[in-house]
């Protein structure tokens, strides 16, 4: 989700409707409005609809839904004498450019539009970066895109004096943010005019020379990047939205120095996408005619005609989100309005089925309540220092040290819970069932979830049998007759802990918690705990 902030009055004026109507229409275009202050609104745009990232794109789309304008928006295009000579720039090889005459620009909005494109299709300028210049401040018709050494000097945007590129990297905010993207082997990509003066250092910063100001009328736009298609799409979207505002698109001749490429830019790529009437109807579950389908497509600002029973859609350059037939089908649905599609009544003709572990867990929870334990429910993530053994999953990028590991047992979870309830009414008898994560080399990730049930009693006086008796009879009620085998470790008091064994397999542990461990958790009262391995028990019960 991307958000843009626009002046409400300018936008409403541009489209000629009221705010409620705008809200309703934007809802049908995947977008939502929130007020920011008296005159500004924030609009949420879905990441696929890059064409809606400026008010002119929104206006174009809404005029379609209002049927004020239908089909592809047509713009004035003219040839220019500008040339962009593209040399071999190793780190970001692709560059295109365009001119806009008589641009009606709102500077703030234009910068926002540029930044939002940078963060979406531009992948934070890694894939695509945009430079926008005041055309009349450029001194030559021939502009070059090539590598320059880091000692190359220019005045960066909003700076007072000349800096070398190396200095830009060290001293400016932009240099620090984007400096490491495209610089390599001591050279940087640069857009320069014929005499070698820098216009921009993509993707870092423009030169102060061609800065836009209140008097700027005509623009020169360069787009560079690592993907030719993304560069072309980005430029197509920018020029389309500027032209929608009333500007004229000027073509720039883009020539590779080795002559491997020569093209008129922007490319204004149009795509033909066929749509089958039967497919569209089948996907949506409706029955409408080819003509109706075409009408909806034109409301979504694309051209459409029917030839020999095939619906041919011409996808204009600003709809880069359309990649397949199904995308057109969604546009048809959006034009109809999702809330005008009557949902089909859902009728189930079969029975569902529970995971066997869910069924077993539910029975165990019921029996645990019957045995007088209160159910608690804690987080899966835990502070690694609380985990009582060394084999656990550590999070590489935790956001808090309190939650930097995944639990591998419910025992520390219950101890942690008890530590926070030292002053509650006694006795405290609690249980929890849930998943822990353990190593398992037989799975494709090397780990698996293991379902457990754990029981704890904390009281002024409590012993092994106080927890052994209830879990013994919980298991017995499930038809599981277990044995206990003394097993000592650091968690429990020596001689007061056992593994719980069923058909020669360990299905749990039980014992009185070692006072060292109690103190570590801040627990001041005797505590007994048992943990049962539900996944193991389920395997034994042979149902899985």
């Amino acid at each position: 989700m991307v958000t843009i902030v626009l002046n409400k009055y300018k936008l409403l004026n541009k489209i000629g409707i009221g705010q409620q109507k705008l809200e309703d229409l934007l809802f049908n275009l995947k977008s939502e409005i929130k007020p920011v202050d008296e005159s500004n609104i924030e609009i949420e745009i879905n990441a696929d609809r890059l064409d809606l990232l400026s008010s002119d794109g929104i206006a174009r789309a809404i005029k379609g839904l209002l049927e004020k304008e239908l089909g592809e928006a047509k713009y004035d295009i003219t040839d220019t004498e500008y040339k962009l000579i593209v040399d071999n720039v190793r780190t970001r090889p692709y560059a295109l450019a365009a001119v806009i005459y008589n641009a009606k620009i709102d500077l703030q909005e234009l910068i926002q539009f540029q930044e939002k494109l940078h963060s979406t299709i531009g992948r934070k300028r890694k894939k695509v970066a945009i430079g926008i210049h005041d055309l009349k401040k450029i001194d030559s018709k021939r502009i070059e895109y090539r590598e320059v050494p880091l000692s190359y000097k220019f005045i960066p945007l909003y700076e007072k004096e000349e800096l070398t590129i190396s200095e830009v990297l060290e001293k400016t905010e932009q240099g620090k943010l984007y400096g490491n993207i495209s610089i390599s082997n001591g050279v940087s990509p640069a857009i320069v005019q014929e005499d070698g003066e820098v216009l921009s250092i993509p993707p870092i910063i423009n030169s102060d020379k061609t800065k836009l100001d209140e008097s700027t009328k005509d623009l020169f736009i360069d787009v560079t990047g690592t993907s030719f298609e993304a560069v072309a799409q980005t430029l197509d979207i920018i020029v389309s939205n500027l032209a929608e505002a009333g500007g004229t698109i000027g073509r720039v001749k883009v020539i590779k120095t080795d002559n491997s490429f020569q093209q008129s830019s922007p490319l204004l790529i149009h795509k033909i996408q066929n749509v089958r009437e039967e497919y569209a109807n089948k996907i949506l579950g409706i029955k409408i005619s080819e003509e109706e389908i075409c009408k909806h497509i034109t409301r979504m600002r694309m051209n459409c005609n029917v030839e020999n029973g095939i619906i041919r859609v011409t996808v204009p350059q600003y709809r880069v989100d359309i990649i397949n037939e199904i995308d057109i089908v969604e546009d048809i649905a959006m034009s109809i309005g999702y809330n005008n599609l009557e949902p089909s009544k859902y009728i189930s003709t079969n029975y569902g089925s529970y995971d066997y572990l869910t069924l077993l867990e539910r029975k165990m929870r019921e029996l645990s309540i019957g045995a007088g334990f209160v159910e608690v429910f804690n987080f899966v993530l835990i502070k690694n220092e609380k985990i009582l053994d060394s084999k656990y999953v550590k999070i590489l990028n935790p956001i808090s040290e309190e939650y930097n590991a995944v639990r591998n047992s419910l025992i520390p979870i219950l101890l942690d819970f008890l530590s926070k309830n030292q002053h509650a009414k006694f006795p405290i008898r609690i249980f929890e069932t849930g998943d822990v994560v353990i190593y398992d080399s037989s799975t494709d990730t090397g780990f698996r979830n293991d379902k457990r049930a754990a029981y704890a009693i904390m009281d002024n006086k409590v012993s092994y049998e106080d927890v052994q008796a209830p879990i013994h009879y919980i298991l017995k009620t499930l038809g599981i007759e277990v044995n206990y085998k003394e097993e000592n470790n650091d968690i429990f008091i020596e001689g007061r802990s056992a593994s719980i064994v069923y058909e020669n397999e360990k299905i749990g542990v039980i014992g009185e918690i070692n006072p060292d461990v109690l103190i570590r958790f801040g627990i001041e009262y005797p505590t007994v705990i048992a943990e049962l391995y539900i996944t193991e028990i389920a395997k034994k019960l042979n149902k899985r």
């Binding site: 879905n46 894939k127 990649i323 859902y346 569902g352 999070i395 090397g446």
Partner: protein
């Protein structure tokens, strides 16, 4: 007969046998009987020469009636802020919601700098709020002095004198001295009972504390959601928390260079997994490179992470190349880095479902969603176009909740044909993901998401069960 000990007197002595020395407050807590009863029992024991006592008095705080009411319902300014939920509202509108609490809410919220009032509108400065006073109402012993003063000033608590008697055992009772005020088998069959006058009880007094074991309120909600899915004919499946990026992202058509895959948006885990199905890997590589135009890398797709969406489970179902028809669901935990506050956690539940069927339509998908929400008690639903990389058409469902208005509930859509063909499915399929915590909060009437995972046993013991 006069030296005979009542059952409760004997109980105290039994207790003192272990402790030797204690006081009336502690005895009342440990025995679960009122302090006033303990005091009179101690006095009797002193007269009988079993214990030595010393009387002190101490100040303490108790809730006033107003305080008890607020502990149940919340403080007015908390309710105000949480009702606004970050949005401004007209004063009059708020007046209608808060009624007689209106003035208190506004004046305290202003005093605490939580809101601004401009031109008849209340503008919240925070999205959620839980006052320290409210927390203190449940736990007066631990409240700091500032909060106590505030509570006093607001008339929510009052100071009371409390008599504390320290007790020390000086003589252990002989067995013969312990009278049994309860009947027993011998007394009954021997007729001995006739010799005693059985002591009268104060039968009108409230009983001592008793813990009722019960299921956890949030777990109950989760199980209810599962039951709904089963009743709709779905099969439950579960997969692990540790997942490969392949299932969490790549198979779902999320490009590897997409900003949503950057390090701060999911939790990474060391190591990498393995995928045997080389055709599947190739198919996914192909569609990514064809449609997203970048070089797809296998080592990225095999990296491990904590799953950030249960759609990863749906992806695993798809990767098993199932034959239509299929209806499966999963309900489980997902993990995402975020700041923890009243509306955000770093782990929460999602319900993901998928229907794979010949000729499954978008209208049928809307119908399934409507039915699921209807059974969850949400009668009004509306649909908004949306974008998810793996579905087209995509939709977000909004449900109407009594207190919150229209709330985004779920993302859904028909799976993209590119994905279906990569796993060899030639029918259509609809999938959806529903966030569960917000629904649970609304259903359970809880305003702070952290309370779904409360680690306060008294809070859990105090929760009421819903009858439905």
């Amino acid at each position: 007969m006069i030296s005979m000990l009542s059952e409760n007197e004997a109980k105290i002595l039994f207790f003192l046998k272990d402790l030797k020395k204690t006081n009336s407050v502690e005895l009342a807590i440990k025995m679960g009987i009122p302090e006033s009863s303990v005091l009179s029992l101690i006095e009797l024991l002193r007269e009988k020469g079993y214990v030595k006592t010393e009387v002190k008095s101490e100040k303490h705080y108790v809730l006033t009636e107003e305080g008890r009411k607020r502990k149940e319902s919340g403080l007015p300014e908390d309710i105000l802020i949480n009702t606004l939920n970050g949005q401004e509202k007209d004063l009059n509108e708020i007046k209608n919601i808060l009624n007689k609490d209106f003035n208190i809410a506004i004046s305290w919220a202003k005093r605490k700098g939580l809101i601004d009032i401009k031109e008849g509108k209340v503008i919240p400065k925070v999205k959620t709020y839980m006052s320290s006073e409210y927390l203190a109402l449940s736990n007066l012993e631990r409240a700091d002095s500032n909060t106590i003063n505030l509570l006093k000033k607001r008339g929510l608590i009052e100071e009371k004198e409390r008599k504390i008697v320290s007790v020390e055992l000086i003589k252990e009772p002989k067995e013969s001295e312990i009278g049994i005020s309860n009947l027993n088998r011998e007394l009954i069959i021997s007729g001995e009972w006739k010799k005693y006058k059985l002591k009268k009880y104060n039968v009108e007094a409230f009983p001592p504390y008793y813990t009722i074991s019960k299921k956890h309120y949030f777990r109950e909600f989760l199980e209810k959601v599962k039951d709904i899915m089963i009743s709709l004919g779905f099969k439950e499946i579960n997969t692990g928390y540790i997942e490969m990026e392949f299932y969490n992202f790549d198979l779902l058509f999320q490009p590897q260079d997409h900003p949503a895959r950057e390090i701060h948006d999911s939790f990474s885990v060391e190591g990498s997994g393995k995928i045997e199905d080389k055709d599947l890997l190739n198919n996914v590589k192909e569609i990514h490179e064809k449609f997203w135009k970048y070089e797809w890398k296998q080592d990225i797709t095999l990296r491990l992470m904590l799953r950030s969406q249960t759609t990863a489970t749906t992806a695993r179902v798809l990767a098993s190349r199932p034959k239509a028809p299929q209806k499966v669901f999963t309900l489980g935990k997902v993990f995402r880095p975020d700041a923890i506050d009243a509306t955000h956690l770093i782990e929460f539940h999602q319900l993901d479902g998928v229907i794979i069927d010949n000729n499954f339509t978008f209208k049928e998908l809307l119908g399934v969603l409507k039915e699921i929400f209807y059974r969850l008690g949400i009668k009004e639903v509306k649909f908004k176009p949306a974008y998810f990389p793996f579905t087209e058409p995509s939709v977000e469902a909004y449900g109407y909740l009594e207190k919150l208005g229209w709330v985004e509930m779920c993302g859904a859509g028909l799976l993209r044909p590119e994905i279906l063909s990569s796993v060899g499915i030639d029918s259509t399929a609809g999938a959806w993901g529903i966030g569960i915590e917000r629904l649970a909060m609304s259903f359970l009437n809880i305003s702070d998401i952290r309370l779904l995972y409360s680690n306060n046993i008294e809070y859990i013991r105090d929760t009421k069960v819903k009858i439905e």
